[in-house]
């Protein structure tokens, strides 16, 4: 017996020795990797999911766009650090008086990754491609942004034609005005793609059965644009590798290849950064920001391009009473809410657009935090014993709403303070919260928000209040019309009209705009010059690595 015990002990020692030797091996390998740090030319970034498609025309999600922005460029880009449209593949453009004709003067000498020329013919090929989709390709699940911006294909669509008057001039004609066209063209969905590659790899032949679309070979293996990086490999569920494009018209700094590695779980992303497996990641949980900063990581904040609001469904009585809505607005301490439940740097909101959007008004009616006034207004409305349902989502973290439950807690405490009894109705975000809020009348107060697509006031308040909807439960033709008027007004009058519209909305007070939280990114200390953008127009060719 004793002898066996000794043997067992010997075994344990052996295993321990092996483990130590093994770890020594691994440690030395990592050291070797570290030694190469000075020659670092690969940027490893953690994405939260695979892209939906590598063909940006068939994509509408942030992860697809993140990858697309490295490989593709559109006619219109974004002024760095802002949400304002700026020249990119089109150096200038002229818009006709009636707003129906856009003449784009193109940058010359630009090549696609397949060495074909980018010219006006290519521009028109892309426009015609979008406008001629049929069947599955034309459905919102694939061509979301074309459908939304141009109103779809065929007769309903606003697109008329595109003509290449010479190699460097493309003239796009519309059937009816589309004032947000220029900012919308900065979306990756409207990137310029190589006509030769689109045809060769049958980008428009959405495969599969009639009711089960399958991505084309173009969208999974052969995306070809004019951007600084070319496609190398996509291992689904794992990573996407891109390499620098030798023939790029602009410059490429240190990043010669980009690896997007897919890490869905937020804590796993943070630990991957801490373990040195990645160089950076997006959607940093607000709770992790301090700890990461203290550990020597860089935290970069985007200017907020989103809005979080407390919606009020006027079908849920007495929310149709303006006095009640005003009382609720006065009852909420937005500063305290931001301090308690939102990331540092969050802007308190006064209206339904963030401050960098062009139609933002300094003169909207405001409802300062004043709970006595709130009680008075409730008394005036005869609603001293008000009971309200309060819907909020669970199992979700959106850029505008990192922790819905915490936001709910803060607001409902304020409401209880002025004598409103709140009935909490939490509901999982996926799959039913949005159905309840936007597809039914069965909700009262609710939390929701929006991250803008491009710099256009209508993209915010038009999306919310452009037409009657079950989310808000009111029908105000005058408001709808004033928004439409602003949308189709001359460009030079538009800003004033949008400001007026923002003021009218806040006078009417359909909901309480709460805040615009800042989304954060985290990086190791060697990453320099990451081009933070409120609309996530972040292209990695400008990044450098410090020693």
């Amino acid at each position: 017996m004793r002898r066996r015990a000794t043997r067992l002990a010997g075994g344990v020692t052996l295993v321990t020795t092996l483990a130590v030797a093994l770890s020594g091996c691994v440690a030395s390998e990592r050291d070797a990797e570290g030694g190469e740090e000075s020659g670092k030319d690969t940027f490893v970034f953690a994405a939260s999911a695979d892209p939906g498609s590598l063909d940006p025309a068939f994509a509408s999600d942030g992860e697809s766009f993140r990858v697309a922005r490295q490989m593709f460029e559109g006619l219109v880009g974004v002024e760095p650090g802002t949400a304002d449209p700026a020249p990119l593949l089109a150096e200038t453009w002229d818009i006709s008086e009636d707003g129906l004709e856009y003449t784009f003067h193109l940058k010359e000498g630009v090549k696609f990754h397949d060495d074909t020329d980018f010219d006006a013919e290519a521009v028109c090929f892309n426009f015609d491609r979008w406008a001629n989709w049929t069947g599955l390709a034309a459905s919102e699940s694939l061509s979301y942004y074309y459908t939304h911006v141009f109103g779809g294909q065929g007769e309903n669509g606003k697109y008329e034609s595109c003509e290449a008057s010479d190699a460097a001039t493309a003239v796009v004609k519309l059937k009816s005005p589309l004032p947000e066209l220029v900012p919308a063209l900065s979306l990756p969905s409207f990137s310029m793609q190589s006509p030769a590659a689109l045809e060769e790899f049958k980008a428009d032949e959405v495969g599969g059965a009639e009711d089960a679309p399958e991505l084309s070979a173009y969208a999974t293996e052969h995306p070809v644009g004019t951007g600084p990086y070319t496609f190398e490999e996509w291992k689904t569920g794992e990573s996407i590798t891109l390499n620098a494009f030798d023939g790029y018209w602009g410059e490429i700094a240190d990043v010669k290849s980009i690896v997007f590695t897919v890490i869905a779980e937020p804590t796993a992303r943070r630990q991957a950064l801490e373990a040195g497996d990645i160089d950076g990641y997006d959607l940093v949980a607000p709770a992790d920001v301090d700890a990461l900063e203290q550990a020597g990581f860089q935290i970069l904040d985007r200017d907020p391009f989103n809005i979080l609001y407390l919606g009020m469904n006027q079908k849920a009585k007495p929310l149709d009473d303006p006095l009640v809505r005003q009382a609720i607005a006065h009852a909420i301490d937005k500063e305290a809410l931001v301090a308690a439940a939102l990331p540092e740097g969050t802007e308190v909101a006064t209206q339904f657009v963030p401050s960098i959007v062009s139609g933002y008004s300094e003169d909207v009616p405001t409802y300062e935090f004043d709970q006595d006034k709130a009680r008075d207004l409730l008394a005036e409305a005869g609603q001293e014993n008000l009971e309200l349902e309060f819907n909020y989502p669970t199992d979700i973290s959106r850029p505008y709403m990192p922790d819905p439950a915490a936001i709910f807690e803060a607001i409902s405490a304020d409401l209880e303070e002025v004598g409103i009894t709140v009935t909490a109705t939490p509901e999982p975000w996926s799959p039913t919260y949005l159905d309840t809020i936007q597809g039914s009348e069965k909700h009262g107060l609710h939390l929701l928000g929006w991250t803008g697509d491009y710099n256009d006031t209508y993209n915010f308040i038009g999306t919310f209040f452009g037409a009657e909807s079950s989310e808000w439960g009111f029908n105000d033709p005058d408001l709808f019309k004033s928004l439409a008027d602003a949308r189709y007004a001359d460009v030079d009058q538009q800003e004033e009209l949008y400001k007026a519209a923002n003021e009218a909305v806040m006078e009417f007070l359909p909901g309480v705009p709460l805040a615009s939280p800042v989304p954060s990114l985290a990086f190791t200390d060697v990453v320099q010059g990451y081009p933070v953008s409120p609309v996530q127009d972040e292209v990695y060719n400008v990044i450098t690595f410090s020693e």
Binding site: A27, G208, L215, G237, E238, D277, P431, L434, L448
Partner: protein, 335 residues
């Protein structure tokens, strides 16, 4: 033996048919649908209706099921609504990852569980026995995501011994003929890649392996305790049989039957346990993909993956049943 295998394989057919009906009904009884998941925040009811028409989700259920079954019989599992790739392709691409992970977890569970259980039984009441109980309890009760967090914190973040996520360092340019990354590295002679893939398996393997380890250890302990007091063991010992042979042929081999059953069952649990482990380790296997599918109401993937997992589970159990015969000659004769 062959008759048993054929019988069991034929039984699979009604089993899978029944399961397909249940799955179909269950998946569609869930609230919400793929359209909402696809369109996000500002989907108009009209847009949702259009998507549902497009995918055929607005047709009567029996028609949808009939269509599904017709395709299924042709080997067509449908297309993921989230990734727009065929479900079968997704499964085949990702399954090797889950097999690799399951094998590592099993090696850990068996390699540690059986010796631990054996020693605990042979020295009942000793410190080793008591610690094995504690280890088993911890193994079963600590949630996988918590264990994963701690493992990563200690061995990836603080010590830097192992990578925290993924199957392979994405900056390694490795070729993957089989999608079994360790095997691929060995086959192609890319030793760095094989080693790196193996290192990526260690932490998730431990996280996934602890529960079966605990169960295997407890089962082994119970079985060995019983067998070591059996009459024939006493007789054998009285005959003066060599201790090594007594331990091997008489005690260990005879206690392995229930342990083997347990291991067979654990394989099924490992496949479902992989959902959590793969998600927290960003390990691109079938588990993490299934989790994403559930979150996005991706009907075809939910249906297809569960069916395919059921097939794998049934085959593993068949294999376990067949292997009984190899261990126990009595069963061989009965069959």
């Amino acid at each position: 033996m062959i008759r048993l295998i054929v019988q069991r394989l034929l039984l699979l057919i009604p089993l899978l048919l029944g399961l397909s009906v249940l799955l179909f009904a269950w998946v569609r009884a869930l609230p919400g649908g793929p359209a909402t998941a696809l369109l996000g925040e500002r989907a108009t009811p009209e847009a949702i209706a259009r998507i549902n028409t497009l995918y055929g989700f607005d047709q009567p259920l029996y028609i949808q099921y009939f269509k599904y079954l017709t395709r299924l019989l042709q080997g067509d599992f449908g297309v993921s609504t989230r990734t727009a790739r065929p479900v079968l392709d997704e499964f085949i691409t990702r399954f090797p990852a889950t097999i690799e992970l399951t094998v590592v977890a099993l090696i850990i569970a068996i390699g540690i569980g059986i010796p631990l259980g054996y020693v605990a039984a042979r020295r009942a009441g000793s410190i080793i026995d008591h610690s094995s109980v504690v280890v088993s309890l911890i193994g079963v009760t600590v949630p996988v995501f918590f264990l994963a967090f701690i493992l990563k914190y200690v061995f990836a973040v603080e010590l830097g011994w192992f990578p925290s996520t993924g199957r392979q360092d994405p900056t390694i340019n490795a070729t993957h003929p089989t999608n079994f990354y360790v095997l691929d590295g060995i086959l192609t002679g890319e030793w760095d890649a094989a080693w790196d893939a193996l290192m990526h398996l260690v932490l998730p393997g431990i996280a996934l392996g602890t529960i079966p380890l605990a169960i295997v250890a407890r089962m082994t302990r119970a079985a060995v305790s019983e067998v070591q007091n059996a009459d024939y063991v006493r007789t054998a010992r009285a005959k003066g049989i060599k201790p090594a042979r007594l331990r091997g042929d008489h005690i260990l081999k005879n206690s392995m039957l229930p342990v083997l059953t347990t291991i067979g069952l654990q394989v099924g649990l490992l496949l479902s346990g992989a959902v959590l482990t793969e998600t927290v380790f960003a390990f691109a296997g079938i588990g993490s993909f299934l989790a994403e599918a559930v979150f996005n109401a991706d009907y075809p993937v939910m249906q297809g993956f569960v069916l395919l997992i059921a097939v794998v589970y049934a085959l593993v159990n068949l294999f376990v049943d067949v292997s009984y015969g190899l261990i126990d000659p009595r069963l061989r004769r009965q069959q």
